[in-house]
């Protein structure tokens, strides 16, 4: 029966012969472990297609919803964070493997005649891998995704001549928003995958056409691809897969806060493999910037592409390819140096700080903006805790520290505050009597609540809450900035206590010009209690980013 089916299939499709031809290809006796990397790259592409498809099953491709759906995948679906982990780390590993594959081909001189086209197709595939990384980076729509892409589209905008067109094509004109998002999504999921499959097909066809490159003077009898070389490929694949799986299980894939275009505190940072480029940009200032962002990378890619024509000397033994080795070593050193420099010189993001263990020395409430503290004041005044008793406890209302993602959104929360029963039918919550600014503050505060920080936030001392209320009511944020919120007309106030004292502040409020000649700040009259609260509040402010 079984045989009959195979026979039928073979007769009608020739599939068996095709597989045999594929597996029983002759390869040089000198093939071996160094050639497994190409197969690994194909394997990783398959993993990316598979996990990407799974993610797409639960992903909403519009900004805002994208973030909620990724959060849903991560927190509410069993195995969701594993799948995203495989896709996320798989992308990084894929790039490493593609580069290693190129390095091997380069060092062995396998790009030489007649394999120039194979090499060039490989360079295109490298660029596509990078394009996958770039477009995929935006899709979670958190702060790092958003800001990373803002920088990218602006780099594209610097391209000589093509700049404006590129920006328009990426939808980044004006700002990164719906249009850019849809285009990145379309590239990442609709256009690039089939394109890549075709190119991989051509690449493999070319490898087959010219055969695997033998070592110099390899005259030993040729062997079959299957099973020995396939065995070696399988060993390579299984080791890489094991590493990937471990990373997906044990290394948390970050999902920051929802993308916030007004977050001036966020320091954009590209994915690690683009850091070297990011660092290169720092060396070119002003009009020269385009050199770092477009010209140098362009020249590098072109050189890579044309390597088979630059080096046309006949193939020599691996050990004699001193120039190739030196070249590769220099490139590696430069890349490592630039990447390290980028890591060292870019300050840690505030996002990372929020979860970093080192952040514990600061009280949770010290990291709130004045507006959020104002919200805390209303939270206490409106006695929200009476019905929302806190993390893990059941009350009349739900646990605010663990709201479902769709409710973690000011656009949902504010109408709900105004008229609870209309947004949640059957809700017995009374409407919150605050003006719009107050409602904004309250929702900003509630959005900050997590099971971990709830205690810490609610233990904010009275002077801080009162001080923040005064700060907000006097609209100090129209000129000053605290924790990234507010304008920068006057000096930012983060860490002001490190260079000013109480006496100075009091004098400054009464007569700004006496302490800061030329200051545009108007004098403020406070009651002694108010003065006490605002000064204490300001003096405890932590330094920015700390």
């Amino acid at each position: 029966m079984h045989n009959k089916i195979i026979e039928w299939l073979e007769h009608r499709t020739g599939i068996q012969t095709a597989i045999k031809n594929f597996l029983y290809e002759d390869i040089p006796a000198s093939s071996g472990w160094h050639q497994v990397i190409g197969s690994m790259a194909v394997f990783f592409f398959i993993i990316q297609v598979f996990t990407g498809g799974l993610l797409a099953f639960n992903y909403a491709p519009t900004p805002g919803e994208a973030y909620n759906s990724v959060k849903y995948i991560m927190t509410e679906l069993t195995g969701g964070s594993l799948i995203r982990g495989l896709h996320h780390w798989g992308a990084s590993m894929m790039l490493i493997i593609v580069v290693l594959h190129m390095l091997q081909v380069f060092l062995y001189g396998s790009y030489k005649k007649p394999r120039e086209a194979t090499w060039m197709m490989g360079v295109v595939l490298l660029l596509i891998t990078l394009a996958f990384g770039l477009t995929g980076y935006l899709l979670p729509w958190d702060n790092r995704a958003y800001w990373g892409t803002v920088v990218t589209t602006q780099i594209a905008a610097q391209a000589p001549l093509a700049g404006p067109y590129l920006t328009r094509l990426l939808g980044g004109e004006g700002s990164v928003g719906n249009v850019t998002f849809s285009r990145f999504y379309a590239l990442h999921t609709v256009l690039l995958p089939p394109f890549t499959m075709i190119l991989i097909g051509i690449h493999i066809y070319l490898v087959r056409k010219h055969g695997v490159t033998p070592a110099v003077n390899d005259t030993a009898p040729r062997r079959k691809f299957f099973p020995e070389q396939v065995f070696k490929d399988t060993v390579g694949v299984s080791i890489a897969f094991l590493i990937l799986f471990m990373m997906a299980v044990f290394a948390r894939v970050p999902l920051g806060r929802l993308a916030d275009p007004t977050d001036t505190n966020f320091i954009p940072r590209p994915e690690w493999y683009f850091l070297f480029l990011f660092q290169t940009l720092k060396f070119f200032k002003g009009p020269l910037e385009a050199i770092g962002s477009v010209v140098l990378p362009g020249v590098a890619v072109l050189t890579l592409f044309l390597i088979p024509f630059i080096d046309r000397a006949p193939l020599v033994r691996l050990g004699k390819r001193t120039f190739a080795f030196t070249f590769a070593a220099l490139a590696l050193i430069a890349w490592t140096g630039l990447t390290t420099a980028a890591i060292v010189t870019t300050p840690k993001t505030t996002e990372a700080d929020e979860t970093a263990p080192g952040a514990e020395s600061l009280q949770a409430w010290q990291q709130l903006t004045p507006e959020e503290l104002q919200g805390l004041a209303y939270f206490q005044k409106e006695k929200c805790k009476a019905c929302h008793p806190g993390a893990g406890k059941r009350g009349i209302g739900p646990d605010l520290t663990q709201m479902i993602p769709a409710h973690r959104d000011a656009a949902w929360m504010i109408p709900h505050f105004k008229n609870p029963a209309q947004v949640v039918p059957g809700s017995s919550m009374p409407p919150v009597q605050l003006d719009d600014a107050g409602l904004n503050a309250l929702s900003a505060f509630v959005l900050k609540l997590t099971p971990q920080n709830e205690q810490g936030l609610l233990s904010a001392p009275d002077f801080a809450v009162q001080g923040a209320l005064i700060y907000q009511s006097k609209h100090c944020d129209a000129c000053h900035q605290i924790a990234g919120a507010g304008k920068k007309i006057g000096p930012p106030l983060d860490g002001v206590g490190q260079h000013r004292d109480r006496a100075w502040l009091e004098k400054h409020f009464v007569d700004p010009k006496s302490t800061s000649p030329g200051s545009m700040m108007p004098p403020y009259k406070f009651t002694p209690q108010e003065m006490d609260a605002i000064c204490k509040y300001l003096l405890q402010l932590p330094k920015a980013g700390g």
Partner: protein, 171 residues
């Protein structure tokens, strides 16, 4: 010059044991990797989300406005967790207030294939237009292909208000 095709002899000097070891290894690893990918994928696609069930009870109608002894279709607004979103949507139920003020709320879909049924006063039955199932006033199947009685929502009476809850597990 076509350097790699200079030697056409092909050696297959693998010993049979080595060969079969290679083949077993290849199949073994491929199966393991396939399983390591398929199992999480199946769990990911098939397991229900871990969303906390909240806000299941909805204030649906004023008890006094319901007729006694005759089923009435009421509509109300309820919120539903829909994937990563909470939507507020219109929902309906067939509600029967008995003389002793007991209330039953039937889910509005026929238990056969989910068509909307309605109350037919002359025959005093719920009838489904799709495949002519008929149900008694308390939901029992009287005729047609419906496999089980009408599904019911849990109900609560809060003062004069009727609250509708989740579906009762069917018997």
């Amino acid at each position: 010059m076509d350097d790699q095709h200079q030697s056409h002899e092909v050696a297959d000097d693998l010993s049979p044991t080595r060969r079969s070891f290679y083949i077993k290894f290849i199949y073994g690893i491929m199966t393991a990797i396939g399983a390591a990918l398929a199992a999480p994928a199946a769990i990911y696609l098939l397991f229900p989300p871990k969303i906390p069930k909240e806000g299941q009870w909805v204030d649906a109608a004023d008890l006094a406005s319901l007729p006694t002894g005759t089923p009435e279709e009421i509509s109300y607004q309820r919120t539903r967790v829909d994937g990563w979103k909470v939507t507020s949507e219109k929902a309906t139920a067939w509600v029967l207030k008995k003389p002793d003020n007991q209330v039953i709320a039937f889910a509005p879909q026929c238990t056969h294939l989910g068509c909307a049924y309605h109350w037919d006063d002359p025959s005093h039955t719920f009838v489904c237009p799709c495949h002519t199932s008929a149900f008694s006033i308390d939901g029992k199947v009287l005729a047609g292909p419906a496999p089980r009685p009408l599904d019911r929502y849990e109900v609560k009476v809060d003062g004069s208000r009727l609250q509708i809850g989740p579906l009762e597990p069917h018997a």
